[in-house]
Symmetry: C2
Subunit: 327 residues, 2 copies
Amino acid sequence: MQSSRREILAATAALGAFMAAPPARAAAPQAGQQAPAFYRYKVGSIEITVVNDGVSRMPITDDFVGNASKSDVNAALEASFLEKDFYAGPYNPIIVNTGAKLALVDTGTGETGFQSSKGLNGRLLLNLAAAGFDVKDIDAVIISHYHGDHINGLLKADNSLAFPNAEILVPAQEHKFWMDDGEMSRATKPRVVFGFKNVRRLMTPDILKRVRTYDWDKEVIPGVTAIATPGHTPGHTSHVVASGNSKVYVQADVTHAPFLFARHPEWHFMLDVDPVAAEATRRKVYDMLVAERMLVQGFHYPFPAVGHVEKSGSGYREVLVNWNPTI
Amino acid sequence: MQSSRREILAATAALGAFMAAPPARAAAPQAGQQAPAFYRYKVGSIEITVVNDGVSRMPITDDFVGNASKSDVNAALEASFLEKDFYAGPYNPIIVNTGAKLALVDTGTGETGFQSSKGLNGRLLLNLAAAGFDVKDIDAVIISHYHGDHINGLLKADNSLAFPNAEILVPAQEHKFWMDDGEMSRATKPRVVFGFKNVRRLMTPDILKRVRTYDWDKEVIPGVTAIATPGHTPGHTSHVVASGNSKVYVQADVTHAPFLFARHPEWHFMLDVDPVAAEATRRKVYDMLVAERMLVQGFHYPFPAVGHVEKSGSGYREVLVNWNPTI
């Protein structure tokens, strides 16, 4: 008598547990560390690589938002399913490879990161290496503004140049403000005073030899145009990377983390040098991004930090791109 | 006369362009390919690694959603800033490392991927290797249901076992349905008929020797419990991975891509074997996820495919976790 295929299958399945038990082996160890964090996409013929520097982890202080309470901030964190009482702000420099130039836009928190968030940031050099970049090949570092999480990575822990062959392209207005002794002497807000001290620490002769200022509304390098977005700092600059019919608006800190400051464009962040001007810039840029459905790359967006913006309630909401397995 | 620091800095910056021009070098080549796509997180003492298999790229057919038009689907795609007329559905198997067991939940589209989306999927083995996994170390493959994008990866292109030392743990109800010759003979919908053919092709003697069925509401392996979520297929199963006070709901295809089917829980997807039951399951699970603010891992969510769910309009919206640089 011949068994039917169905009977054989049923019997096989039932016996499977006994027949197929693999020989006992040691359990595979857990990896214990995150994947490298980089992500590539094309803008026309330009290849962009987002290279994550990690995140901050700062307690929410009473002055974190000048015109909102700590409980307002916690409500916004909770609405985004995030831990309360802490600000985990992502840092996302990008590499722009035009084919002729290899430029890094902003540098992250530096090789050792911010000590207040030990181990969580200062990851740019690791992730650049994981993405296959040799720091010696970087021709240009383009700086958006002079806050530590954007410039500290210019120097390595031993104060040598992190990008030894790169020109350092900085916004003229920003350089003028932070290098002006009169402005420094008139600064009163503790975070601005600290900002001046950090800039002066960082601007070693080695750095200054490589600094070249650029102007708003002009190309910084071919394909990358500087856009005035002052407020967060006096010379705060965004960039439009464009090629063919494609472009992306690289917004730097027009909003800090969008889960707080795009949702609440009216909030005045403690690090804004001029929070009223920062809010005006933010509303203008975000209304444009919504109207034009323009791709935006946000330094403090969650990695991979590139997406679109929609209106949401009385503010805006970012919609990150879906991960693309090819580019 | 001594120059002031300010004068020196200004002069240095102005000269920088001439002094610091690096020697001409060949431009760095563009990478031309995406980063590996894997992402780790902990659930108590269990380490989960999301390992992306790529995405589909299917034209939106008139029957893509049984009770919505192609223009309705295009409107939903446009609302999520996605290309119209195509369905780019992500595939995200996960590795569950309990410390004692190394289990893969679902297998993706197989080594060669779906030919209709050539090169965009079939990336699981590449990404497993990038994440440091040896396929020989995988003890168990846990299957949610018998659609090709979940089971085809059990076999390599040459029909050998992709995970040669793994037991294959399958939902009892699902195995019974697709292996039943009577059910097969009664199938009329072309996609269900194709499903039967694909399952029978895949269930080689080598596979069947390793198959062991599991029941709903029981642990499949320690820490992973099977949850009945029928409708998409008769034996469609979700899993709760739990350890200590933490858990994640691994939803398989309770919704297909959330940018379509979480936003529109009322939509009947062409691959649902019983779309009415699928909708009932979807509403029940999503109301629970919202009420409990429970972490959810979605096979067809955009990578890294883990997040939370909120109510949005007449449906739901996923809020992916922010990328964590450590685990």
